[in-house]
């Protein structure tokens, strides 16, 4: 039990609790704030597992860009908090809790019934320089595909988000 091991378990605990809080919040805004904590915890875990560049990207892209995008959308559209009876909520959550519990207990059983002795991870760090060399030498073609995917997503989002001036639904909205 060294210092790093303790840090790992503390971060894992924080991340799991923050994620649990995020998925159970009624209002999406609170969920986003808890999720930012969870992503910061994950970023620190990435740093601990020897990926400092990915930790940076996690903070910038996940906790920065994507979550801010969510916040913008939540502020843009008005959401009425859904009114749901306890019976309906239970009907929705019960199968999930049951199946999730089975999956989780199976995972725990697999981890602790593993006959092989657990191999402790050796600390190693892949700096941005080695990582960039590796990525653009071994995976240059998938990088191109990913950039195309981003371009197509950009075009798709612009197309979906445009205002249509000619449709009758919008004209009736503008009429009063």
């Amino acid at each position: 039990m060294t210092f790093y091991t303790g840090i790992f378990y503390v971060l894992a605990f924080i991340t799991a609790i923050a994620t649990f809080m995020a998925i159970t919040r009624r209002h999406a805004l609170h969920a986003i704030v808890y999720l930012i904590i969870s992503f910061f915890g994950t970023a620190l875990l990435f740093y601990l597992l020897g990926a400092p560049f990915l930790a940076l990207l996690e903070v910038i892209i996940y906790a920065g860009a994507i979550m801010v995008l969510f916040l913008f959308i939540i502020m843009m559209i008005q959401i009425r908090p859904s009114v749901q009876t306890w019976a309906a909520a239970l009907k929705q959550w019960l199968p999930v809790i049951l199946l999730g519990g089975i999956a989780f207990s199976l995972a725990v059983a697999m981890v602790f019934a593993d006959p092989a002795t657990p191999i402790p991870l050796k600390p190693a760090v892949a700096g941005p320089r080695e990582f960039g060399h590796f990525l653009f030498e071994q995976y240059w073609f998938p990088v191109e595909i990913a950039s195309f995917l981003l371009l197509i997503a950009l075009v798709g989002a612009l197309y979906l988000g445009r205002r249509e001036g000619k449709s009758p639904a919008n004209q009736t909205e503008k009429a009063p």
């Binding site: 799991a16 998925i23 959308i73 190693a124 995917l149 981003l150 612009l158």
Partner: protein, 101 residues
């Protein structure tokens, strides 16, 4: 010494199960997208752990692609949500029953 690899996998399983529960059980479309995000993040955590376990950079390279996929998925998904909200005035997944007989 660091933790065993199985504990990293266990954390990834917990996060993935939480994300899947959020995507299945919630009815708000934004919460469903958040659940998908949590699942992708958990997969990335498993990849980084595996990358350290086998001392190979392939896992970390995959996380880059997961990030790209997550970003594009969120962009298109949120555009769809805004479009649906403009069209039907609701982001509740249970109220899209136009095709129901």
């Amino acid at each position: 010494m660091m933790v065993p690899f199985s504990h990293v996998l266990l954390l990834a399983v917990i996060l993935f199960a939480l994300g899947a529960a959020c995507a299945i059980a919630r009815r708000n479309l934004i919460m469903i997208l958040i659940g998908v995000e949590i699942m992708l993040n958990a997969a990335g955590l498993a990849f980084v752990g595996a990358s350290l376990r086998w001392q190979h950079l392939d896992g970390q390279a995959f996380v880059i692609f997961i990030l790209a996929v997550a970003a594009s998925e969120v962009a298109v998904g949120l555009a769809l949500i805004v479009y649906l909200q403009r069209r039907t005035g609701s982001v509740d997944a249970n109220r899209y029953n136009l095709l129901k007989g």
